[in-house]
């Protein structure tokens, strides 16, 4: 083990403290972001899972069905029925695994009868009798008439068990006001109801109430309680409602309704905010294990839940988004590592003298390596510790994995480069005097370089093919995710290959130009552009930056476009199909602030067929004139072909069709209300909504002229007043979708917003890296430049020309690198965004169209300005050396 010389380690560090701090800073910045990625992406995943569980609603609940013990012998009125029920619910809750129990709310216990047919007046009236209670108490209600259901026995006997001989046994129930209204029942009504097996029960209405808190989730356990279901059919109207039983009348319910009609359930709804991404697998397993533990009708408790499939589906979406995120992170990491290598290179250049001296004095390569390693590791550790600390302070949690490459490169790049420099300096190999031998040696170097470049190109091609074939499906497939980064590297290498010959060409031209500046600039540039690293850094970071910006912009734009496609204007009203909707649409179109409105019938899953093909289409029957106006007024693409729908010829109804086979266009016909209607395809339909099925558009007038009726049920409106105008005509019927709201919903969805945030953060960091890259590259060559400029000054170059030479030397490669990077970045985005399946995040049905904002070009400006500033600063510094001193002794630095 070599011994370290502490004084030289410290002294060396002290002399280059600025650069070391810079390296530390880069490490810190990179660690800051990479260590935050894991906790933030986990948090985003948590939010996404929580949102999915929330959206799932009751589907995400865990339901225990409890078997009621059967007592043989005579029926008994059991006054402790409610307490016993609560006891059983409690024991069911205790059966749940801890992990699951902690993410669900305390159970809501229900004991319900099936929907029973009321026998008092007319068919089609159904009533369910639930007893329901929260974990502690029954939901609060206010009686607006009558009183709460009371025991069916005198108060004195209410507390003791009574053997029952007389049947039927009536049960008192209380109706919510909505149900009482829907069923036309009043306090004191006594009626019979029968179940599916025609077994009857006698029911007495004791009171009518309104719920204390209709949003209490207890009510969700029996949805028809507060929201009676009213169904219309041609023959009759049916009403399904529910009435509650209290703990006082529960014993009567158990007697009034046949034993096997009553089902006891405990519904544990999930607490979305407590469901964590990291737990999904464990939770899924716990749920499946519960479900598998017992079958219904056997054992005490059987379990049901769809939460496991909700979690699995949600997990799949999260992992797709993580795959997209890994594309950005890999790009960022590559940028950071390149910058670190560049900084290390600068450091080694500055130390070259002392390193060579050390080696010449007999220091071993291992000694040099380890001495420098100590320094580099300390810097890297301090930098990353600071980064991690900041992450921890800001985010509250830290992820390690992505930071490791930064740490490794920061620790090894400097020592490795320095050791190589030292080794080369003290290499005792003779340079062959023979020209052909020298050429051979050069060829070997070229072959080596070709080999490396070939490998990079091959890897880039393979990763791109992998991306095309596999797509980005999860966060574990680094091969496909790294394709954009490899493409950037290839672009950088290409630049490095092409620039020197180009520069030599320019130099040849510059020789013929009068004036020293172009010649000097061209001469220097033709030498300096051969240095791979600075160009590579600028090009690669700009490519990544462009990709990241384009990704964010494409997603944002895609979300807006998807929302617009879904809504079909500024607002959309969907309601039951009715003739009156036509008039409503007309009134909306004349409302203030509405530019256009159209009413349409939109039906999905309609079968159409031609002579040799058939398809399921989305049928849109619309007033084509109004729809054309809507399309013209909205940012959706116009469809002048809609006017062709109004030309009626040859007895067939003209239609527009989008998608479907080519064969579908011949002899198309549709069956509408059981009658075939021949159609003629006259053009390509515009996309309506976000369906993936073919779209068929028919003009309403033409359709009706062919004998069909299709009353509209959808109204699109465009204009700033669309929202209020639709709300005014809708009067709470149907649903209204607003463009602004849908867009906001999509943008604020956890996965989408998380990804856009990551893209923004990484583009910020990448621009910092790019600027740093320019500065470091300039600094690396600064001494050589100063020397040559000194010579030129002593030869008579004036201050202005010095500045121009510097500008030319510094700005040219940066400009070239940045512009090429920009072009490559756009190209990479164009080629790679398809397989990235961004539509999963934007919520569109097809790949979003690429959007590259114009201000991406600002990157180039920023970099060029940086180079200009550096040039000015360097010019000032060069100018500070007195000419006399230069003339006498050259540059003394």
């Amino acid at each position: 083990m070599p011994r370290w010389h502490r004084a030289s380690i410290l002294g060396r560090a002290r002399s280059d403290i600025g650069l070391l701090v810079l390296i530390g800073l880069v490490v810190m910045l990179a660690t800051l972001l990479t260590s935050a990625v894991a906790p933030l992406s986990e948090r985003t995943a948590d939010r996404a899972i929580a949102a999915d569980v929330r959206d799932a609603g009751l589907k995400g609940a865990v339901v225990a069905t409890i078997k009621r013990p059967y007592d043989e012998g005579d029926p008994i009125r059991d006054p402790k029925a409610a307490a016993a029920l609560r006891e059983r619910a409690k024991s069911a809750q205790e059966d749940m695994p801890n992990g699951l129990a902690s993410v669900v709310r305390p159970g809501i216990t229900t004991m319900t009868s099936p929907s029973m047919h009321l026998l008092d007046a007319g068919p089609g009236r159904y009533l369910r009798l639930p007893y329901l209670t929260g974990p502690r108490k029954a939901p609060a209600v206010t009686y607006i008439s009558g009183h709460a259901p009371r025991p069916g026995v005198p108060a004195a006997k209410a507390g003791v068990e009574v053997a029952v001989k007389k049947f039927p046994w009536p049960v008192q129930v209380a109706l919510p006001k909505q149900a009482a209204d829907a069923l036309g029942l009043a306090v004191g009504d006594r009626f019979e109801a029968e179940d599916e097996q025609h077994r009857t029960a006698t029911i007495v209405v004791s009171g009518i109430f309104v719920a204390g808190d209709p949003n209490d989730n207890v009510w969700a356990a029996v949805p028809e309680l507060l929201h009676p279901v009213i169904g219309h059919s041609d023959v009759m109207t049916s009403v399904s409602a529910a009435a509650i039983v209290t703990s006082d009348s529960l014993p009567d319910l158990q007697l009034a309704v046949p034993f096997d009609d009553l089902t006891t359930r405990v519904v544990f709804s999930a607490r979305p905010s407590l469901v964590r991404w990291s737990q999904t697998e464990r939770l899924t397993r716990a749920i499946v294990s519960l479900k598998a533990s017992s079958a219904r009708g056997q054992g005490e408790v059987s379990w049901d839940s769809l939460l496991d499939s909700v979690l699995t589906d949600s997990g799949a979406r999260v992992s797709a988004a993580q795959g997209q995120a890994s594309v950005l992170i890999i790009g960022l990491l590559t940028g950071a590592m390149l910058i670190l290598v560049l900084a290390a290179d600068l450091l080694v250049r500055r130390r070259k003298g002392s390193l060579v001296l050390m080696r010449e004095r007999g220091a071993s390569l291992l000694g040099i390596f380890t001495e420098l390693l100590v320094e580099a590791v300390v810097i890297a550790l301090v930098g990353s510790a600071l980064g991690v600390l900041v992450t921890w302070l800001v985010v509250g949690d830290v992820g390690w994995l992505w930071s490791v490459p930064v740490l490794v490169v920061a620790s090894l790049a400097g020592p490795a480069l320095a050791t190589a420099t030292a080794a080369r300096a003290a290499d005792d190999r003779r340079v062959p005097a023979n020209r052909s031998a020298r050429q051979a040696a050069m060829r070997v170097r070229q072959v080596r370089r070709l080999l490396v470049e070939g490998t990079v190109v091959a890897v880039a091609v393979l990763t791109y093919v992998a991306l095309r074939q596999r797509g980005v499906v999860g966060d574990s497939d680094l091969t496909a995710s790294s394709a954009p980064t490899w493409a950037a590297l290839v672009g950088g290498l290409l630049l490095v290959r092409l620039l020197p010959p180009a520069a030599r060409l320019v130099l040849a031209r510059a020789r013929r130009v009068i004036g020293a500046v172009p010649l000097v600039v061209a001469a220097r540039t033709s030498r300096s552009v051969g240095r791979a690293l600075p160009l590579l850094v600028v090009a690669v970071t700009v490519v990544q930056l462009t990709t990241a910006i384009a990704l964010a912009a494409t997603e944002q734009h895609g979300q807006a476009a998807g929302a617009l496609q879904l809504v079909g204007g500024d607002a959309k009203w969907e309601t039951a199909s009715d003739r009156s909707v036509v008039a409503a649409a007309k009134s909306v179109s004349t409302a203030p602030g509405v530019r256009a409105a159209a009413a349409a019938r939109v039906e999905d899953g309609i079968g159409v067929s031609s002579g040799s093909s058939a398809a399921i289409v989305r049928l849109v029957v619309v007033d084509s004139r109004a729809y054309q106006r809507v399309l013209a007024a909205s940012p959706l693409p116009d469809a002048p072909q809609l006017s062709r729908l109004r030309e009626r010829t040859s007895g067939k109804v003209p239609v527009l069709l989008r998608g479907g086979d080519r064969e579908l266009r011949e002899e198309l016909q549709i069956r509408w209300e059981d009658a075939p209607i021949p159609l003629r395809v006259v053009g390509m339909a515009p996309q309506v909504g976000d369906t993936t099925d073919p779209v068929l558009i028919i003009d309403r007038a033409a359709f009706e002229a062919a004998g069909a009726t299709a009353d509209p049920g959808t109204v699109w409106a465009v204009g700033p007043g669309a929202d209020s105008a639709l709300k005014a005509v809708a009067k709470k019927a149907g649903t209204i979708d607003l463009l602004t709201q849908v867009t906001d919903d999509r943008r604020s969805a956890p996965l989408a917003s998380g990804l856009v945030d990551l893209a923004r953060a990484s583009s910020l960091l990448l621009i910092v890296f790019a600027v740093l890259g320019v500065a470091l590259a300039a600094a690396a060559e600064a001494p050589v430049r100063a020397e040559s400029l000194g010579r030129l000054r002593s030869l008579g170059l004036d201050r202005r020309d010095v500045r121009r030479v510097l500008l030319g030397e510094l700005v040219t490669p940066v400009l070239l690198g940045a512009v090429v990077g920009l072009v490559l970045g756009i190209g990479a985005a164009l080629v790679m965004f398809g397989p990235l399946s961004l539509e999963l995040v934007t919520g569109q049905t097809s790949t979003p169209s690429l959007v590259v904002p114009w201000w991406t070009a600002v990157t180039v400006v920023v970099l060029v300005v940086t180079a200009v500033l550096i040039a000015r600063a360097e010019a000032a510094r060069v100018g500070r050396t007195p000419l006399a001193a230069l003339l006498r002794g050259g540059d003394q630095r």
Binding site: E72, V288, A292, R429, R443, V452, V459, T479
Partner: protein
Amino acid sequence: MLTLVLRRTLAQGRLLVGVVALVTLGTALLGVGALLIGPTQDRAFTAGMQETSAQETEVTAFFGGLKASDEAGVHDAAHTVIRDALGALRPTFTSNATSRMRRLGDGQRLGYLASTTSLPKRAALTSGRWAAAAGEAVIPEATASRLHLRLGDRITLGREIGVDPVQDPVTLVVAGTFRATSRSGWERDPLAGSGYSAAYSDGSLPRLSPAYGPFVVDEATFLASGSTIDALQVTGRPRLDRATDGSMNAAAKAMRSADGLLSDRVADRVDISRVASDLPQTLSQVHAQQAATRSTLLVVLLLSTVMALTALLLAGRLLGGVRASERALLADLGLGRGQLAVATLIEVLLIAGVATLLAVPTAAFAHSAVTHLPAMAAAGLSQGPTVTLGLVLTEVASAILLALALAVPMVGSARPGPRVARVARSGVGVLVGVIAIAAWWQLHSQPPTATTDDATLILAPVICVVAVTVAAVRLAPLLLGVVARVATRSTALVLPLATSQAARRPYAGAALVLLAMSAASATFGLAVQATWERSQHDQAATRVGTDLAFALSTPATDREAAEIVRSTAGLTTSAVVDRPLALGQYVGSGDADSAPVLVAADSRRAGALLRGRLDHGRTWSDIGDLLAPGPALVGVPLSSGGVTAKGTAPRGVQVEVVPTLLVQDASGFRRSVTGGAVPLDGRPHPLRQLGSLKGAHLVATKLAFSGGAASGTADVTVALTVRNAEAAAGTAKKSPQEWKVQILGAPDTPVAGSSTELRSSASATTLRTTAQLDLGYLAYADGEVLATGFSRPTAVPVAVSERLADVVGTKLGGGITATVEGVPVPLEIVAIVPTVPSAPGGVAVLADADTLSRSLIAAGHLEPVVDAWWVADPTPGTVRTLDKLDLGETTTRAEVAAQLERGPLRAMVPAALVLLVVAASLLLHGGAALVVGADRPARSAEVARLRALGLTRREVTRLVLIEHGILLALLVLAGALVGVVASVALGSSLVRSDVGVAPVPAAVLVWPWSLEVAVVAGALAGCLLIATVITLVVVRRSGPAQLRAADA
């Protein structure tokens, strides 16, 4: 220039012949690959399609509820739609029509008409003849015997049942009787081809009625009857003998719109219409298999191409070396670089041309030979020598490519000195290492889902093998140095001289890589093939689960069970339950393979019966022991004397009992038989209609009480008496059994309490069951009591698959609940196995069939639950006999393995691997000949010098031989080592299942020692032989003349 080239060609003829041979070899290899991927894959597609079963490709249009008058039109519409959809596959059609049920006479009895074009295929005539004239019908035997119909009898089918019935009766003459021969053909018959059902209901009838039929008539009669057609199916079976990828794709695409098209055409005339076909799924499965095979083929081709390229680089290098002095001379004469390059190009193109001319027929014959390999021939893929345009294009392109590879080193001049080379290598080593690891990681981290045709994964093994070889070869000079240093200690002359010379001489990298890689490819190819074959056998074992699985199309009756037992006499067999089940409320998470499956077999024979790999050195007997059902069940022996039931009830109580006996025959098969209703009148009633019970045992009985009208309760007793057979009398007495009783359907049952006891006397055994009945309730519902000769298992012990343990998150000793036949069965997990036989990779449980059956019986489910019979070590005769029974399908492990290994879509994989081994050996020997042979001019001078120094001819021969031998042996051994490393790293991940997913069970590397040793030894021997021959030639030709020439 041309003259120069031609003259030079003549002068260096022998070397050039070698080069041409090498190019031809490489080109022909690629040509064989092109033919395999092209015409052979197409042929395999057609052959693979033909191997699919009819159900997998046929297209069926179903119609429901149409009038007879519309039949012809609907029929035509179906024909047109199916024919259009299948296009070039020109389908043949069959159709089946069944009428709605009609009344037979005045009673409850029902009968129905049918008209079918495929009857002779699905049924065998047992008497009379097929219906030929109007008004004639053929009927099932069961129908004839139950309706007492004889040939020539007339029968009238009355009006239809249901809404809007047809009233006109139909009178038919019985022309013949038949018996259904295959169950699969009768799946859609209302009576499933049985000819009779005592309790038929289509939902429109108020009660269950006896039904008979079908009365199969010709189409004219059928239509003339004017019957409402309940079901009409028109099936188009495509002709697959000329199925091509294009025609099948077109058909699959047309399937998508066929349903809509048909329903549109017949919308007015039928209630329901649907087009169904498995063709698209079948096609995509065949495509997946093709892709899986193609990816292996591509790996082999790529490896061969890399080797061929290396060989040509080497040849070019040697040729360049031979011409170095000539080139210098030409350059001195003033020939420019461009002119030299043109000359080389012309020469190379000439070589390419000659090679193409030779390679086209070579490839055609070699391809024909490959397709005549036993495996390929068995799969029907044999082809004569064919020359296709694709082949010619491939040959031309590859010949030019390979010849250009030849040109690269020929043009290049200076050789990098060893020191410069070292610098160049320093970084390359790291690069090669990184590439090898990256390639390995690609393969290693591939997802278990289908990844065939993934370019990265196809390239990865090739890159990995090349990189590892390059890395290994870089160590060769070091090793030679070590050998030389060791050998210098010897005092002998020849050995140190030879070794130090071997270590000192510079070697062309291409030569080292070629020799090592050929050896590596050969060993690697063999190992992959062995691994692949073993994996196919493992997969087959897991898929079938046993040696022979006989899956029944419907649950077996006792007679069928007896037939099966008779057919498999003397073999280890077991009745097996193999069906999906619900685990509690869990029925899977949506994926096809996550639906739980239950497999129950005879655990006592598990060791002999079950197949599939287990972990931790366990055997299936060990697992079977954990599942064992305990002592065998011995019930009450039944004799030919029959069973007598005597019931007593209080006076005035009108109650009947229907006893159902669960009997177990000698083979352990359990079935239930139901006697008629017996009034509880205190008199003994012999039970009728029990059939033959000889040799059977009574293990349980269910008593169903009905009747009663008054209120109140009554205690009733039913005694079932079995007259002892003489032989069995003794045993019954010796073991008085404890019988248990339980009330079924509690709490909703009129039975309030019950008890049972078994008494044996010398002549008879009596099972006396007492029940307390609620007479008022009994009027509404039957009361059932079950008495069993065993106690209900508390839980069925099961072994679960790892996947189940993973999905459900359960552990050993854990409990889950399964629902089988609607009966909840508690399961206790006693073992976790990698995968349950016959349910590869699925969520599955393995139980003992006996325990399961006891559990089901105790829950009141007395019907037999048997889905299949499994047989260990069957003879070919067994399979034939079972097939003849026509009760279901037989699947044997050997058949499945053969299908996986040598099916038309698969046979190319082993053939390709054999091709790799052959190509590698050829290239190895060619390479060795090049390396040794090219050295000859330099060596002959050296030999002459050594001879001049006084070495004997023999010593010189030994010297040269050792020198070559060391190098060749070292490279071959290094290559073999690389083969080992590559096999260990990649062997198992290269094996994918037939549809391109990770195989179940996972492939395990097989290293075929004997074959590998033989191949390596053969390679060594071949190389040494070549070296010997060339050495002998060199030594013989060396003489004083050479000495002078060398000096000059």
